[in-house]
């Protein structure tokens, strides 16, 4: 399927010219907190920020009252991160990168490239200067100056051998076709997670990789699954858990044992892994899926949300799960 989409995208890129691509300011909407929201960031347990469709960014100190912030784009935002109470970044469709230096009051557009027709899907920052934004088709942007400049990296270590050969041949024949093809040959990078000095990356076609130099070079894990992964976390007990398409969850112990498939009893896409402060693991997924593990991810019990709406991202905030879903923000109490 991927190659089909890749082909479509490349021929579309060649054929389409963009007229106006000035971003439009997001509309203040009463229903913003009930719209499709895609990521939630718990900023030092002091406040939370959520982002989602139509350039919606909302902030709350208590998880109940949400204030919609002024945002200069209407693009769907897919991820948000803060390094401290002031400095934060949000990324999303139209290759948008936004930044704030005042805790979300004002957002500035650092990148807006709708003509690329590709979304960014995650953003991570080590500190106020060093950050990475990743996205569809292996897009990888890096900044060392807090986002004043973003430079793109092409991570050829994710190419299959035959793709490398194919690209090399194409480069000799037709430079333009080569660039087009290169722009869509890599798998989607879905999520990057920092774990001390190590960074983990998960993505399409079973991609799991790790890096010890904040993503400059990556080592791929052996393939364990052909579907996509959407999250990876180090658990409270120090083991690795990754989750993805159709309820597929794998676990690797801290000493690096082979990945072990965990039967979740669910076939729904898992969007997010949430660690609670009381040593539980939560899996948030489509179709209202909420899976709870009390034994570090060996077994999960289901607590489906009755409305069946996708739970997309969550955080453990003051002993409650605050999650964003396809119809907005939800606070869920999970008694032990």
């Amino acid at each position: 399927m991927k190659s089909v989409i890749a082909a479509i995208v490349s021929c579309a890129l060649a054929s389409q010219a963009y007229a106006a691509s000035q971003p439009m300011t997001a509309m203040q909407a009463p229903l913003a907190s009930k719209s499709l929201l895609l990521d939630i960031e718990n900023v030092e347990q002091a406040f939370m920020v959520v982002v989602g469709e139509r350039g919606h960014i909302l902030k709350s100190f208590d998880g109940e009252h949400w204030e919609q912030l002024a945002v200069p784009v209407q693009s769907t935002l897919t991820a948000v991160t803060f390094v401290d109470l002031k400095y934060g970044w949000a990324v999303g469709h139209d290759n948008t990168i936004l930044a704030t230096t005042d805790g979300g009051k004002n957002w500035e557009v650092q990148q807006f490239l709708p003509e690329r027709e590709k979304p960014l899907l995650d953003v991570v920052f080590k500190d106020r200067d060093n950050g990475v934004a990743i996205g569809a088709y292996g897009q990888f942007f890096r900044t060392v100056d807090g986002g004043k400049n973003w430079s793109e990296e092409f991570h050829s270590e994710f190419l299959h051998e035959e793709d490398v050969e194919y690209l090399n041949e194409l480069k000799l024949e037709d430079e333009e076709a080569y660039l087009d093809e290169r722009a869509s040959i890599l798998p989607h990078f879905n999520k990057m997670v920092m774990d001390g000095r190590t960074s983990y990356l998960v993505g399409e076609v079973g991609l799991i990789a790790k890096s010890n130099d904040f993503g400059k070079t990556w080592q791929q894990f052996d393939s364990i699954y052909e579907g996509s992964f959407f999250d990876i976390e180090r658990t409270q007990q120090g083991n690795l858990l990754t989750a993805g398409l159709r309820g597929n969850v794998f676990r690797s112990l801290r000493n690096g044992t082979p990945w072990q498939h965990i039967d979740t009893g669910s076939t729904s896409l898992v969007n997010d892994i949430v660690l609670t402060s009381d040593d539980r693991l939560l899996l948030l997924g489509n179709n209202g899926t909420l899976l709870i593990s009390e034994d570090d991810g060996q077994r999960f019990s289901a607590r489906p949300q009755p409305d069946g709406k996708a739970l997309i991202s969550g955080t453990w905030y003051r002993n409650k799960l605050v999650a964003v879903s396809e119809d907005g923000i939800k606070t869920i109490t999970i008694a032990k």
């Binding site: 229903l31 719209s35 499709l36 895609l38 027709e117 899907l121 579907g227 896409l269 409305d307």
Partner: protein, 778 residues
Amino acid sequence: MSINPVINKLENGIFKHRAFVLAFFALTTVVLLFQATQLKLDAAFTKNIPLNHEYMQTYLKHQKDFGGANNILISVCDAEGDIFNEPFFDALKGVHDQLFFIPGVDRILVKSLFSPSTRFVEVVEDGFAGGPVIPANFRPDEQGLSVVKGNIEKAGIVGRMVADDYSCSMVTASLMEIDPSTGEKLDTLSIAEQLENDIRAQYENDRITVHVIGFAKMVGDVANGAKGVVVFFAIAIAITAIMVFFFCRSITLTLLPISCSLIAVIWQMGMLSSLGFGIDPMSILVPFLVFAIGVSHGVQMINSVVKQVRTGINCKEGAQNSFRALLIPGGVALLSDTIGFITLLSIDIGIIRELAITASLGVAMIILTNLVLLPVLISYMKLENKPLKASKRGGMHKSDVWHAMAALATRGPATVILVLTAGLYVFGLYHAQNMKIGELHAGAPSLHENSRYNQDTFLITDRYAISVDYISVIVETTPDACTSYDNLDVIDRFQWQLENVQGVQSAVSLASIAKIVNSGYNEGNPKWRVLSRNQQTLVQSIARVPTSSGLLNRDCSVMPVILFLEDHKAATITRVVDKVKAVASELNNDNLTFKLASGPVGVMAATNEAVEAAQLPMMLYVYGAVIILCLVSFKSVRATISVVLPLYIVSTLAQGVMTGLDIGLTVSTLPVIALGVGIGVDYGIYILSTMNARLKEGDSVEQAYFAALQERGSAVLLTGVTLAIGVSTWFFSALKFQVDMGILLTFMFLVNMLAAIIVLPAIAAFLWPKPKKDEKKQ
């Protein structure tokens, strides 16, 4: 008067050939009675909508592609709260099949879990997998049902086709205008009957309940309720008869005006049938009204004859004199009634026009039966002592009352009355400003809130995410417009702005579905729930949305945005429609326009606007007609003012009452205002026709008014009470709109009567100067 020779000729002609006249009436009545028995109840969806309204033009233009607003929704529910059992699925399948085979149902648009177009799609590692929600090899056993349950979740139809709590499942269908098997106009009432007999009666039991809503069912229920009207009719006749009897103390005199009024009703119904009309359940009250008006004029006639006879002449002469005396005021009054009804033709809604025709026909018949037939019949009677005594005895008593009342026409009391009236007027005007247009209550406003139909409506809106109150905004563009990101993005932004309007529950359009499909193409990842800027990807998403979804037409040049509303209250509709207009004017561009409207609420919005727009012109026409008729018959501006001013005040008060009682201005209450004015003017005309003659002879206002009271006072009182009783029986109707009409008409009849005998003389007291002759006399 130049009209006198004509009246003389008529009088002579009629009373010389009484037998001939009677034979003519008898024969016509027999023929029309036969015709009347052929009269059918007739209801059609299009009659209820203002077809020429801008919104309805859009609606009709796209009806073929998107179906209309004439839908049937059947929710089959399991009383135990869970549909996954064999009896339920058997019943659901039965309902689906039965509905499918009802002639007039658009079979392609019959949808339920059992229709092959109800499919699920799921994302698997290598793409999509999918199939019908109920597989071909479905067996309603535990395994089969759990597969179906899984498929229902994957299909994303919970809230639409399956209740949120899995206690019900929905079968929907669209009705056609023409029955394809006969080629004739769809018989809505027969469909309603089949829904009741072939579906509900057959499948509803202790465990399964069947809830049917939709225009056809609503009309069917209205028609059933309307049949109860016969009982009210009988009660009204009985009460009226008793009233008339106490007035004249003669059984024959009681029977005559009542029979003549019934003849008018028979003629009216017979003529309707002969002209090819049916009677709509919504206007079933008109025969009532005709009867009541007939009796009220009949009472004037017997009153006059009795008074004539009391002076010692025989019945025939009395009848002849009464004919002569009443032809003008009675004729003018009835003519103004007729014109009041005819003005309703100016409203471009089929059902109101039908009401206008039905009612004006009926009133025109009264001119013949009660101003011609009645005196002729009376002329055969031998009226002697009995009624004479009765009225004498009463007369003594009455004339004291009349004397006291005549004082109202002197300037002292008149001042008090006018000040009070002005106060009332200001009060009424204040409330009238707040009169709401449209339906103010949830559910079908024609029916009571606790009716089965409305209870079913509430159940469906309660258990499903959908609402039957939806409005479609039609996006008109160029062919293949849906393949352009820019177009869909505009639609998407439009939809979002509307979703944020208070009262909008949810919304759906091709844009919002395309986003979900796009996410589906990306493994179901919600982060991809966007409109792709890439044309090929966008086309790929749209290709998965079939035209049967009702979200696009064949070449996707037309795409509706469907807004589901919380209710259809006038305020909600106005808020949404205003926002649609505002956002549309902001987003419309060279190749894309947002147009109102389709869907049930679209129809209501158009109707509300048509009703609101019709209100002022209708009032102008009615009052114009009344004023002209008064000017012509009285030849006096002062007389005209005296008659029309109280009428106007009462109209305003009636609007205030509507606000107070939460009755909105709708297709059924709008005509009431015209009817109220048309009929209300009768009293004034009767009173003033006597007064006017006296005033011209130089009497004081007080004297003239006293004379008028003596001559017509009791008849006017009786008329008002009779009419009011006739319509007040509607209070007990099974139909909400009849109750509303009943309240308003009762109010208008009674208060107009009071205004005619209290406010009219007070106004006259100031309009006519005190003549010198008056002082001499006193």
